[in-house]
Subunit: 481 residues, 2 copies
């Protein structure tokens, strides 16, 4: 809707940050809002979010999760009940103090996350082992005041996400849930959004405030900075105890339950933009693209128009039966060239051109957004070829992102290597790190890099990159968004 006639004016490799902002606004994914720090998710961006949401929603429902909705506002006393959790979130909480002209008796926090208000409800709902497990997910928005500058999808004071909150009878079952969700996240990110991730645990320093431990997925962006793609927390009994989530077991005794929580947000879209886009704009992986194939009919004579549109409609219908999402761009007020440009900006994976010459040769011209490759395809084979090409694009994007990740992954055995890697190309730096928190803190202070993951299975131990202590665990560092 805003003027789109100008292309991206910087190259992605030259200024990723400016390139990113231009893609977000010119592809009409999002817009800034008059509420400072808040972002509008525009229809095209929202449609991508819907793709992601539908996929994940189906996966978790298949294994017994159900959606619900909990209040936006949390009484201060409730938020305070888990002390470490409250400490962690209080600096960024928005506080409601008045309704109409009346001052409230108690301040209400706009949820920065919903552990407290949800666990308070669970304490009333869970009585017996028969009530377990509780497997609930919520799609909502949460607010955390961002004091630094806004970056759409990545750094905003409000974001859309899902938050899962589960209750289990045993620790083992809770830990299994944490990993089950982590694996669903990994497949969502790699198989749908075509971004490879490292999975692992966070260190004590980096974990969710209130968790026993946090597991995470981390992706590498082309500028060498990592981005957290989702987290799944084992909360142990840290919440069930202060909130008194207890159940009567088969053994007729009362037990505190075990809880988990996990979330992914619209920042996945931010990572998608940075990972796959090019100097012409967005490139969408077919599986999450709102429109997977755009048809541009080209006719110079009125007499051609009808037959060309018919051909496009015929193929689009066939694709619809294969659950391929298509759009026939027959708008009169724009030229084909203008349309090519627009759909390239918007990252539609495949463009199909049909002109008079195509009709004569009973073919279509298929143009891949990722590679720019043009291929003439007989109309009779169009559906199979388009379906296959979409699969190829999906694979190719993941493959390319894997190459970028590999190129941006190094190993450091001392701080000189470490600092050099971080300062030049950035990226993931594998190293050994002692359990002494000072090493982690000092590295962060000196290089700006933090531990992104501690691998779930440690293949070997080694000498700490900072203090040299032997028998240190393997970790992966990076600077991050």
């Amino acid at each position: 809707m805003s003027s789109k006639d100008l292309g991206i004016t910087v190259r992605k490799t030259e200024d990723l940050s400016e390139w990113y902002t231009q893609v977000v606004t010119k592809a009409q994914l999002a817009d800034y809002s008059s509420a400072k720090g808040f972002m509008i998710l525009m229809p095209y961006g929202f449609a991508i979010w819907e793709s992601i949401k539908e996929h994940f929603d189906r996966r978790i429902k298949e294994i017994g999760h159900r959606n619900a909705y909990f209040p936006l506002l949390i009484p201060e006393r409730l938020l305070k009940r888990e002390a470490e959790h409250f400490e962690g979130f209080t600096p960024e909480v928005f506080w409601v103090t008045h309704s109409g002209n009346n001052e409230l008796g108690e301040r209400l926090a706009i949820r920065p996350t919903s552990e407290t208000i949800i666990n308070e409800a669970y304490s009333r709902w869970v009585k017996s082992w028969r009530d377990l497990p509780v497997l609930i997910n919520v799609w909502n928005s949460v607010l955390r005041a961002e004091i630094t500058s806004t970056k759409p999808f990545i750094r905003t004071s409000e974001f859309l996400w899902q938050e899962g909150h589960t209750v289990h009878g045993t620790e083992e079952e809770a830990e299994r849930e944490v990993l089950t969700i982590l694996e669903i996240y990994r497949r969502l990110v790699e198989d749908q959004i075509a971004i490879p991730v490292l999975v692992g645990k966070k260190t004590e320093r980096e974990k969710f405030k209130g968790a026993v431990y946090t597991t995470t997925l981390e992706a590498m962006m082309p500028d060498g900075k990592a981005i957290q793609m989702g987290t799944s927390h084992h909360l142990g009994q840290n919440f069930s105890k202060p909130f008194e989530i207890k159940y009567l077991g088969k053994d007729e005794k009362e037990h505190f339950a075990w809880t988990t929580s996990w979330g992914i947000s619209w920042r996945l879209i931010g990572a998608l933009i940075m990972s796959h886009g090019d100097d012409k704009g967005l490139i969408l992986p077919p599986r999450v693209a709102p429109t997977q194939v755009v048809f541009v009919p080209i006719s110079y004579k009125e007499s051609d128009k009808e037959t060309i549109l018919q051909a496009a409609n015929h193929i689009a219908e066939g694709l619809g039966k294969e659950s391929i999402r298509t759009y026939i761009d027959d708008r009169e007020q724009y030229t084909p060239g203008w349309k090519y440009h627009e759909w390239e900006m918007k990252g539609v994976p495949l463009r199909v051109e049909i002109g008079p010459r195509d009709m004569q040769s009973k073919q279509i011209t298929m143009v891949r957004r990722d590679s720019g490759t043009k291929t003439a395809v007989p109309q009779a084979d169009a559906i199979t070829r388009i379906v296959n090409t979409l699969d190829e694009i999906q694979e190719s994007l993941l493959h390319k992102a894997r190459e970028t990740q590999a190129k941006l992954t190094t190993t450091a055995t001392d701080m000189k290597q470490f600092a050099h890697a971080i300062e030049t190309s950035g990226g993931f730096v594998k190293a050994f790190l002692s359990e002494n928190n000072n090493c982690e803190d000092n590295i962060k202070q000196e290089t700006g890099a933090t531990v992104r993951i501690v691998p779930l299975t440690q293949s070997e131990k080694g000498k700490c990159v900072y203090c040299g202590a032997s028998n240190s665990r393997e970790v992966v560092f990076a600077r991050s968004y």
Copy 2:
């Protein structure tokens, strides 16, 4: 999850309000929250909301609408820009004054509705006639402080809803949109939720603050009180002027655009509960029921169990192919009787019992939730018979609700009749009303009844029920939720 072993302890006809609260909590649709005035939408209630949402979402997408998301917080100056609108909402707005420990420079309102923040964005997005129409919908929650007591789904300080906001080039097109949506609402409410409605306009007194006029759907509850089921507003240029939504027309001149907004909320679920339920609990219309058919296998011997479950699975699979949502309740820890009770409370439209005797006679026993009718059906015909019975239940619920509505509709030609009708059975009271606002105000003050609708087409004029002025318009009054 909470204890469900107790049935409803009051009769619906004796104390609708207490009956309602018990159904809401015992059928596990919703729960009260520790934030006063706020409600938790529990998984079962949320699943009903998802049914409603999916249906409406599909309908509006078919005619070109798309979803988006706008910020939760609205700067005070923006909310003030349309004066009448601000006046209307300010007493119930929740105000954010702090983030962390910092006082904000300007108060932020939690959206009571999003006209202001959305129209501000539209003023930036709309430049030319090519950008029109803008057809955007948002699924979110809005907050309006409720000072009176909480009634789940009906009176809560936060509610889930959808708000549509559209921009058009001409007034005619905007008015057509208002009615298109009203008709989609009507079909949703009557055909899916099985509640008959009256459609019409609101009076000046009752319209949305900021609208040129408001159209509405009104349903009649069994206690004689009306409930507003949705509204669709023609905003004229009331927002486009203060927010400067202007476009360059084909005539190369600048024009102010015309806007609409419209919404339905989770109160539809409240009306559903009151309309259809009975002394045993909830009754769900099949089209919005999360589970349409529940199978209860009954086996006393271990040897029967397998074959009975197989038969249930076989029929459930066949129903799945017909897009019927089924659940096989093979939980070991509950008796069949307990399960009957639970699914009756939860309003599942059809129960299928399969026991050893059913297996011997190659039949199933089908029990309708609405009528309690038990029917033996040959297993070979099960799928067709179940599909047809669900249709019959859907129709029957609407039919019954139509009868209730008809019974609760009267006509009054003078205030004596009017007051008598309102004081005894309540219900819709048809009458003529002058254009003099005093008549409307006085009737409200004296009887508690308000004008629910002014019919869209006036069949005749008559004498005002209050002042006797001739040539008065036809309206429908009622007390309301």
